[in-house]
Symmetry: C2
Subunit: 189 residues, 2 copies
DNA sequence: AATTCTAACTAACAAGCGTTAGTTTTGTTA
DNA sequence: TAACAAAACTAACGCTTGTTAGTTAGAATT
């Protein structure tokens, strides 16, 4: 029953444009033109440009945080947890690829409060991931490479997945998961 | 004997600022202030903001192209070539990490001619890398995963290496190379 | 039928943008 | 020391930016 509100429409449109040119290169007039209205009309639905950016970024950042919380709470092997993290990234990438562009490239344009919240979430996320990898090494499940190198290698692949997903037409999610898990995991076990 | 020219100084300063906030978020006045001069004075040395961006990006893009050409010309195994590509990325990352931020995030703000040149170089680069991986699979040196997944996985790690390198204080290049080659290669052989 | 709400509009603002023209200072060479 | 070139300066330009104020048309509610 819940129809998409005009506000959500603005945010979706803005995310698409931010993905193409970046937050600073997209004007309120650009967003309005893409919706066939005038820039001033946007302000009937949103409080400003900043609000659009923070809604785009924080919403998806919270999804990552929630997903990671679930993974950490699981009672399973480290490898299984890494697999779950990979699947988490793929699911979010498939559903919010535009938002991920903003999260990756425009987070520094968030203002004070939102910026702090975002940076905190990202640090916590990385720390949780790092701990999973370390536990895997201690348990002998993961090869004893430098944990930071493993973390970085996997995370940078997952973080830029949205670029790849946008380039090759939307492909089957389950196949993507299987291949991704293979390439990223097989190397470290 | 060749002292760094004022023009090079501008480009280096601009690259640093572009790395922090992105091309569109940095004004000519920002660049000038960082050099303790006035914005108009910049135009004694450069033709405009666009020129700064294209010098930053194209110079390092050409370095990649040249490096890849050397690797392709080598008479060695596919795995050895992949290793050489990894080392190429690390060397460039260590010496031009600010420029890599612009190359990754601001390339779309290049104007017509430079944009075309850049996109062409990047496509060729990827195609050369893809071919190396395919040859490796045919020769039985590399596991028969989908080549595109291997390419993407390695390349996205190498492309965001500059972020990692900037975060952890400048670390020993040779150790970095060894660890990186281990993690990225061991998984696919 | 009168009222209220929603969402568009026009017009304008102050600030910041890249850039240009013309001038002055600084440092080197003849 | 006079002449010249390099590199800074001041002042201003036309344009774009995010945003505000006030208004209007149509739909929903009373």
């Amino acid at each position: 029953m819940k129809a998409i509100s005009r506000k959500e429409e603005i945010i979706t449109t803005a995310a698409r444009l931010f993905n193409e040119k970046g937050y600073k290169a997209v004007s309120m007039r650009d967003i309005a033109t893409a919706m066939d209205i005038k820039a001033a009309s946007l302000y009937n639905h949103i409080n400003g440009k900043q609000e659009i950016l923070s809604e785009i970024i924080l919403k998806v950042a919270e999804e990552f945080t929630k997903g990671m919380t679930n993974v950490v709470a699981e009672n399973s092997s480290a490898i299984k947890k890494v697999e779950k993290v990979i699947e988490l990234h793929i699911d979010i990438t498939v559903n919010h690829s535009d938002a991920l562009a903003a999260l990756n490239n425009d987070w520094m344009h968030l203002e004070e409060t939102d910026l702090k919240a975002f940076v905190k979430m990202r640090e916590d996320y990385e720390e949780n991931f790092r701990r999973i990898i370390k536990q895997g090494i201690e348990a002998g499940e993961i090869k004893p490479y430098h944990p930071e190198v493993i973390l970085f290698s996997i995370l940078s692949t997952l973080r830029t997945l949205y670029l790849w997903y946008q380039k090759r037409g939307k492909l089957d999610v389950n196949i993507l998961k299987k291949d991704m898990v293979s390439v990223l995991i097989k190397g470290i076990v």
